[in-house]
Amino acid sequence: MFLTSFLKKISSSESKPPPEKVNSVILEKVVTVSSPVNLPSWKDRSIWTSSCRQEPNVQNQCQEIKEIITDLLRTIRDPEKPNTLEDLLVITDESVQVQPFEENGYLVRIDFNPTVPHCSLASLIGLCLRGKIQKNVVERIKLDIVIAEGKHSTEEEINKQINDKERVAAALENPNLKEMVDSCIRDEE
């Protein structure tokens, strides 16, 4: 096996301005099919706030999952303070919402409050929440983690980042980040 070494030839890759469309005579056709969305994503705030009618036993199961996940999250330690996320009100009893999907699936949505609106560790906290749930929950779930609306100066940017499954997977494989996450989510003896 030989290791090829390379000269980094930096080409002039200045991107040209996007092609002008002003003279275009063709209108873009937008096709929207109105099918009932039964598996909303974190972008569908309205669906999450609307109350959905459920069978009592399904409601109980959702309540149970909600309690299990809330218990997992409340004991996570803050990355830079000695307190838990529950102490700092990052996670409260209202943070976790659970909806059923298909026969045995649960849609889990977590809204967390960063301690300050410009908190630089918000994405690391998001990573800790996801890491701990992935490690401990065996049920079939879809997990969306978002910053509680209006609680961070770069809310949208962080939501995009912590819900990008590829970035999250890579981050959780990065030894430095993994060590930080592990130390925050490790259960105290």
Partner: protein
Amino acid sequence: MARLDELCKLPGHQGIVWNVGWNQEGNILVSCGEDKTIRLWGRNVNSNDWVCRSILSDGHQRTIRSVSFSPCNKLISSASFDGTCCIWDKSTSTEGNQYECTATLEGHENEVKCVAWSASGSFLATCSRDKSVWIWEVGEDGEFECAAVLSAHTQDVKKVVWHPHQDIVASASYDNTVKMFCEEDDDWICFATLKSHESTVWSLAFDSTGKLLATCSDDRTIKIWKEYLPGNEFGVATSDNMPTWKCVCTLSGVHPRAIYDISWCHQTGLLATASGDDAIRIFRIDPESDPNAPFLEQLITVPRAHEQDVNSVVWNPCIPGLLASCSDDMHVKLWQFKG
């Protein structure tokens, strides 16, 4: 009624399966994932069942995100979160399906997300979270030399694909755009930026002619883009004697969650999508619709095609309607479309 029948479910990977691909003859399927292995799947000679023929390991230190066969079928390339690409060579081994890692392409600053061969076999493209697209020239001696580092995107580059006939590469990014690159006077340049998606563009696929491009996104839409050449009869403006790529169709409201992959069958013209709602969907462009405003017709939805997110779908290059998929649920599946 059109249907998509599940042919088989292939277990073996431990963890997320990120990507699947076919060899050019369509008789070997390759998959890769979180378990840092590449698996080759083929038909058992006696039973005709799809079985794992070979496992390639020890090439990467972290998740293997993308894998593909070279046009000559002799080489396999893989891209990993460990920041490298490996080239696996069959010719150096004696046994049928044994491959050996014969080259490691280093240079990206962090996770390599995708690796793709040009149709001519002369080039390899890679992309990374470091925001760059690299073009590698394939030498006759099996050496790979970096021909260009393209820093046109402002964010993570998720996927690169080559035009089916020309040395043109298209890249999809977390910056919500698609960019196209070609070689001009010995330099690789960005000649088109496709803006319309409202979030990460996860994947893209050319049709068989290379005149249409399909893209899919975290914004939960599919878009079809059409090439308009300089001096076209439709009055679409072009600049610098380069074609303009224009969005001619947007399909929204069908996928409730992110769309992670799209594959365009070069034999049947069918489109398949892999989605975060665990479903696989099949579409086609209505042949009666206006080519400048095509209508995307949904033929099939297979809900719960997998138990978790579907990460990749790919049509077989030789057998019409044969589709492979893979998922977070650790499985690879094969499907047959019947129209």
